[in-house]
């Protein structure tokens, strides 16, 4: 590096140092409000620097590389900030910034509790540090070390409120799954390192793999990263672990950590392995479609708000992988434009999901903070108690339901446009697989809208179902600002997709050698992913028209003889004694009942009527089929195997010595031969 430090990498250093400082300050954060503030300010500085570093990396055509004076003697830690890393650094930074504004108000709950604030602050910082380093790493060694840093520190965040047995169980499951995944990733890198010359990513890129070994490496990486990202059927840890953490950490985990797994998958598949195969794309597409559909269906069955949001992360990760799968198929069959479009759609959805899922988790945290309630069945009427949170949460709901003109719609639209290019493909199988995936995506979008009507309608509309909720109070200004900032970003990403796509374009340009220039060729007003005559969308015009019709109809109707609205009681459903009670409202479970019935075979439904003392109680429990199908058999097999192994434990020292001798002999034989 002769001409000094590139701007992007310098800003990345600021981000790393900022979060490191936040970790150090966290240890004394219980000594006074100033330290606590400093902890979050440093975190915010780090987030802001990460955003700027990401933007700088997207703007600069060259990747910036550096070596850190750390690591193994023969393998220094190498950092590299290219457009892909920059994009994910941007995603991390945007959410970290929101969390740092939100945090001071939210952790007030923990200051007087038994759970120590320094632990929370320090592990939050380490978690963010781990994620940033994963994205910046340029060799498998640093990648895995940071990956473990990220997994371990988030384990401590999940188990932070460890006095609940459920949280401890969730954390253990999380740790277990994270390590199975990490092992698989490590093996994947091992294959690449074996064919290449060493652990540096440059060496892996240069490696020549036979299709078989490339597929093995891809399979290992897909399994490992997919497990971390929460793809079905490896998702079971996700709805347990994410809700257990404090809400701003849930936002980081769902909003960002899953994206780091997506980053790993993109880096491994599109950058390191080299030659792509369309069969991989079909596998990714299939798993992505199943994840999207199962994620949303299980989300519909939840009535714990944070668990519901966690299941929606499974859904959205599925949508991202649908985009990546389409990209893989098209790229591997030589249709570069459609392939790049698929990757772009996935990246766009990655950013969108980071924004709206963090927004929704922060909103759930605000509800939890002000009425200590996570159960939808006890909420109601929160819009009037918490108008700002209600407004921002509504924006999050519209965005995640993929409704125009917000951001979720843009990325789903791009994914649909990619799928509609299926006519380019040769084989009949591929041609018919892709439309089915598109159909699944359409079903997913419609079900997500149903789910968020349920969430918003039950939590924020109607009337309060419990006294605590009736007395809910608005949250502090910082918490509102953080939500407002994310909501504004959701709107901006929805209304100016062309501008954003122009920035994103640097990623496929540096990664795949081809951008999507035609998509932005017609000015900021028009989004034309393939060509203007194929498809176009103008979000600014749409939102202007929507506002114009709204304004016109409102002003026209207010004039003339129409009068002010009069307040009255709602219709009492024929009850003579006044208002219907809040308990007569539709509950979240009731809302989802028709869908539960239609998709019944996909759930494990346990419902029964218990009678005790003349009172009948209806009990309903919907659980994940993945448990019975994939996890319990593995757990049983492990138990059976360990029961076999215990036969070695005879308790007699002579037998143990005999085993040791036998082992020694076998080892000697192995070494000598």
């Amino acid at each position: 590096m002769t001409h000094g430090l590139p701007l992007s990498l310098g800003l990345a250093y600021v981000a790393l140092l900022g979060v490191l400082g936040s970790v150090l300050v966290a240890f004394v954060s219980d000594r006074g409000a100033a330290f606590k503030m400093a902890m979050f300010v440093l975190l915010g500085v780090s987030g802001g620097a990460a955003v700027l570093a990401g933007l700088a990396a997207l703007a600069s055509p060259e990747a910036a590389a550096a070596q850190l004076p750390a690591g193994l003697p023969w393998l220094a830690w190498r950092l590299r900030l290219d457009a892909l890393a920059g994009f994910f650094l941007l995603v991390i930074g945007l959410v970290v910034l929101a969390v740092s504004v939100y945090g001071p108000g939210y952790v007030r709950d923990f200051e007087h509790g038994a759970d120590p604030l320094p632990v929370l602050g320090a592990f939050t910082g380490l978690f963010v540090l781990g994620m940033m380093l994963v994205v910046l790493a340029d060799d498998a060694f640093l990648f895995m070390v940071s990956w473990e840093l990220m997994s371990l520190s988030s384990y401590f965040l999940v188990t932070f409120q460890h006095d609940h047995a459920a949280n401890r169980r969730a954390a253990f499951l999380y740790l277990l799954m994270a390590h199975i995944g990490a092992l698989s990733i490590l093996l994947g890198y091992g294959v690449l390192a074996g064919f290449g010359d060493g652990f540096a990513f440059d060496a892996m890129r240069a490696a020549e793999l036979s299709p078989f070994w490339a597929s093995v490496a891809f399979g290992l990486a897909f399994f490992g990263f997919g497990m971390k990202a929460g793809l079905v059927p490896m998702h079971a840890w996700l709805p347990e672990a994410h809700p257990a953490a404090p809400s701003h950490v849930s936002a980081l985990m769902s909003g960002v950590m899953l994206k780091v797994a997506v980053y790993g998958f993109i880096r491994f598949t599109f950058d390191l392995v080299g030659q792509l195969h369309w069969q991989w794309g079909v596998a990714v597409l299939a798993i992505g479609s199943v994840s999207a559909l199962m994620g949303v269906l299980y989300a519909l069955m939840q009535h714990d708000l944070k668990r519901l949001l966690a299941y929606h992360s499974v859904e959205n990760i599925g949508i991202i992988f649908i985009g990546l799968g389409l990209g893989l198929i098209f790229l591997a069959t030589g249709h570069r434009v459609a392939g790049v479009l698929g990757v772009i759609a996935a990246l766009y959805h990655t950013l969108n999901h980071a924004l709206f899922k963090s927004l929704l988790f922060l909103g759930a945290g605000a509800i939890l903070h002000s009425c200590h309630e996570r159960d939808l069945e006890r909420m109601g009427g929160l819009l009037r108690r918490m108008p700002w949170t209600g407004l921002f949460f509504l924006i999050g709901c519209i965005s995640i339901s993929a409704l125009p003109p917000f951001n979720g719609f843009v990325s789903e639209w791009l994914t649909f446009q990619t799928a509609l290019q299926a006519w380019l493909l040769e084989g009949g199988v591929l041609r018919s697989v892709i439309p089915i995936a598109a159909a699944v995506l359409a079903l997913t979008g419609a079900l997500a809208a149903a789910c968020f009507v349920k969430v918003y309608g039950v939590a924020f509309l109607g009337r309060a179902r419990t006294r605590r909720v009736r007395r809910a109070r608005g949250v502090s200004r910082g918490m509102r600002i953080a939500q407002g900032y994310l909501a504004a970003l959701c709107l901006l990403a929805g209304v100016f997709p062309t501008t954003l796509l122009g920035w994103l374009d640097a990623v496929p340009e540096s990664l795949l050698g081809r951008g999507l220039t035609q998509a932005t060729a017609h000015g900021w007003l028009w989004l034309t992913p393939i060509a203007p005559e194929t498809a176009s969308y103008s979000a600014p015009v749409v939102i202007l028209a929507l506002a114009a019709v709204w304004w016109l109809s409102a002003t026209l109707l207010r004039r003339g003889k129409a009068r002010e609205a009069r307040r009255c009681d709602p219709w009492g459903c024929g009850f003579s004694n006044g208002l219907p009670t809040p308990r007569m409202q539709y509950s979240a479970t009731a809302f989802a009942q028709p869908i539960r019935r239609v998709f019944g075979p996909l759930f494990h439904i346990d419902q029964q009527v218990e009678e005790s003392g003349g009172v009948q109680r209806f009990r309903l429990h919907v659980s994940d089929r993945a448990w019975g199908l994939f996890y319990l058999p593995v757990a049983k097999a492990v138990q059976a195997a360990s029961r076999r192994v215990t036969r070695l434990q005879s308790g007699s020292i002579r037998v143990y010595l005999g085993w040791s001798l036998a082992t020694l002999l076998v080892l000697l034989w192995v070494v000598s031969s």
């Binding site: 009427g381 018919s432 309608g457 969308y537 709204w550 109809s553 307040r567 869908i595």
Partner: protein
């Protein structure tokens, strides 16, 4: 020319706006004649709307601000969706602003707020309507998108104007995929506009209603906007079926004769569709709610068959 073409968009939107109540009135008239009643004049929906606009709206104490904003959003979304559909001419610049996937998105946006408004007041009725509406739409939307994808893949475009143009220029071959897509879309249209056999627009019986349950608490101008939006939706599906699958007569230039014949053609097609709807509503009985998903699964399967038959039979290797 561009200013003129945007004026055409406004004209088409206005035609939708003022034609939709007439279409509803026409369907009601035909239906009552089929049932041996004299029936109200087809202009009755206009009178109803005028009356509602003049009335004082009542809003429940328990309603939030969303309740009062929702009618405007639902109405705006319905009107924008209509503005995207080529009514008289395929050369409408609005089809470039929002393609057919965005059109489905507009409908979903309106439905989202309609369902939220149903849950706002906090009575059991609204929630019931919203829950059922979201079930029906969750099954109907993918079927509609698949039907639309069949068209889009044939024309290699999701722009509705281009799709219709492709239909007209590409020769009028009888494609099996179109037939399947048409049948799927008809079933979706019946479900989404709340007609028999999925919903009954003329009932207030709590066991059966969907759409009416959601707007039960509305009155005055709010109710008028909600009703108008529903009428727009009916006309939108009618025009979509009429102009995409039977595109004859639609104007491909801005000459007055072409536009005039376009107007005449679409009016005739809509009148026939209205008769068909009235006949089907007369001979069919409303289904139980849990038969509706089967009905819509059938629509989905038809649309999927359409797409697959396009891929396998028509696009060739």
């Amino acid at each position: 020319m561009t200013v003129f073409s945007w004026l055409m968009v406004l004209l088409q939107a206005a035609l939708f706006l003022f034609g939709a109540p007439l279409l509803v009135g026409w369907v009601r008239l035909v239906k009552s004649r089929l049932q041996n009643r004299r029936g109200a004049s087809p202009l009755q929906p206009y009178r109803d709307l005028r009356k509602l606009f003049g009335k004082e709206p009542l809003v429940a104490h328990t309603a939030s601000p969303l309740f009062r904003a929702a009618p405007y959003i639902v109405f705006a979304a319905a009107l924008l969706a209509c503005a995207v559909v080529p009514l008289l001419t395929t050369r409408s610049p609005a089809t470039a602003v929002a393609d057919v996937i965005v059109l489905v998105g507009f409908l979903a946006l309106g439905r989202f707020f309609l369902a939220l408004a149903g849950m706002d007041v906090g009575t059991a009725f609204g929630g019931m309507g919203s829950s059922r509406e979201m079930l029906v739409s969750a099954m109907a939307e993918p079927a509609m998108l698949l039907a639309v994808f069949t068209l889009a893949m044939t024309a290699h475009s999701t722009n509705l104007g281009s799709v219709i143009d492709h239909q007209l220029t590409g020769g009028l071959a009888l494609r099996p995929s179109y037939l399947f897509a048409l049948m799927g879309l008809v079933l979706v249209a019946v479900a989404e506009t709340g007609r028999i056999p999925v919903d009954n627009p003329a009932t207030h019986l709590e066991l059966t209603m969907i759409h009416e349950a959601m707007i039960l608490e509305y009155s005055g101008r709010h109710l008028a906007l909600m009703e108008w939006a529903a009428q727009l939706k009916l006309m939108l599906y009618g025009v979509l079926i009429a102009n995409v699958f039977l595109p004859w007569g639609i104007a491909r230039s801005f000459s007055p004769t072409a536009l005039g014949s376009g107007l005449l053609a679409v009016a005739l097609k809509l009148a026939w569709l209205g008769v068909a709807l009235a006949v089907s509503e007369t001979v069919l009985a409303k289904m139980r709610l849990f038969r509706a998903p089967q009905f819509l699964n059938f629509a989905f399967l038809l649309a999927l068959l359409g797409l697959l038959s396009h891929i396998i039979l028509e696009s060739g290797a």
